[in-house]
């Protein structure tokens, strides 16, 4: 069992966020040292159960949502259906969570993830005070990834 501490989790999340958003959505991501204010336009949630148990909440403003979707689909926002928009955002979170877990452990580790889902309210997940919140900047717009981790028993 790999020991997990806040520093290791942070480093893994920074690398996973830069790689996932850079490679998949062609957005340049930098970590922010301090909390950033932004109007949340979309929240996505996923749980994982192996190699560690935990939860990840991805929150971003509308402009990042639009940039991600337009870059992945290589088309204008207006031409996309709600399903196309949600599908690519959920897939992004799925890959982000997988990359994070592999970064935290090792490249070949087998990961178990729940289906990612769109949240309409934080009440749907509860226990949000146990999340660590990490802030990032994607080409001028802030967003956050919240993590709650527990080693597998």
């Amino acid at each position: 069992m790999v020991e997990i501490n806040e520093h290791k989790a942070r480093q893994a999340l920074i690398k996973a966020s830069k790689d996932t958003l850079g490679e998949m959505a062609f957005l340049d991501v930098m970590e922010l040292e301090e909390a950033a204010d932004f109007k949340v336009g979309q929240q996505l949630f996923i749980e994982f159960s192996h190699p560690i148990r935990g939860r990840m909440l991805l929150s971003f403003p509308l402009e990042i949502k639009q940039a991600i979707v337009e870059n992945i689909h290589a088309t204008d926002w207006e031409s996309l259906s709600f399903d196309e928009i949600d599908d690519c955002l959920l897939e992004l979170l799925n890959i982000l969570a997988g990359n994070f877990l592999r970064e935290l452990h090792e490249e070949s580790v087998k990961v178990q993830l729940s289906f990612p889902r769109v949240l309409f309210s934080l009440d749907e997940i509860g226990d949000i005070e146990n999340f660590y919140v990490y802030y990032f900047d994607a080409e001028g717009s802030p967003f956050s990834v919240s993590l709650s981790l527990k080693e597998e028993e």
């Binding site: 850079g22 062609f26 957005l27 340049d28 930098m30 290589a74």
Partner: protein, 159 residues
């Protein structure tokens, strides 16, 4: 053989098989190497920054300096010289993190992302990439067969 040197923010396109395109000292800059093997048309651009919004005057004078203004010009020029868009394959090199080891203002990485974003949105595929790291690269590109040789500090490799 004629060697066509490409400076920062410049581009060259050739359909003469005997030509070689060459650019030097790619630090954080990225060389986009586009080739239509069927019509034997090659293009090389030496991009320095991702986005022309930072200096639109410069973009007018030297569009190749920026990814968003340079790439359209490169592909337009290639098509004028006989390349067909559907045949064009793209390779990338450069984009090193030379100035900032902490990657806080990693222009090389930003250049690479901006270039890939443009290529993806415009239907061009990147077939090979040798980017990142912290070394400066020199690259030569043979028009006749599309061979690309990257070199640094006495070593060279094909991409």
């Amino acid at each position: 053989m004629m060697r066509l040197d490409v400076g920062i923010g410049e581009w060259q396109v050739s359909n003469r098989p005997e030509d070689e395109l060459k650019t030097y000292a790619l630090g954080s800059c990225v060389a986009v190497l586009a080739y239509d093997p069927k019509n034997r048309v090659a293009g090389l651009i030496h991009v320095a920054l991702p986005d022309s919004k930072v200096n639109q005057d410069k973009a007018l004078k030297l569009p190749g300096y920026f990814a968003d203004t340079g790439l359209p010009v490169l592909f337009e020029e290639m098509q004028k010289k006989g390349a067909a868009k559907k045949n064009i394959k793209v390779k990338l090199t450069g984009g090193s993190s030379i100035m900032d080891q902490n990657r806080h203002f990693d222009i090389g990485r930003r250049n690479t992302i901006a270039i890939k974003r443009y290529l993806w949105k415009n239907g061009y595929g990147v077939v090979k990439e040798d980017t990142g790291g912290n070394s400066s690269r020199t690259v030569s590109f043979k028009v006749g067969d599309g061979t690309i040789l990257v070199s640094n500090a006495g070593k060279s490799w094909e991409i």
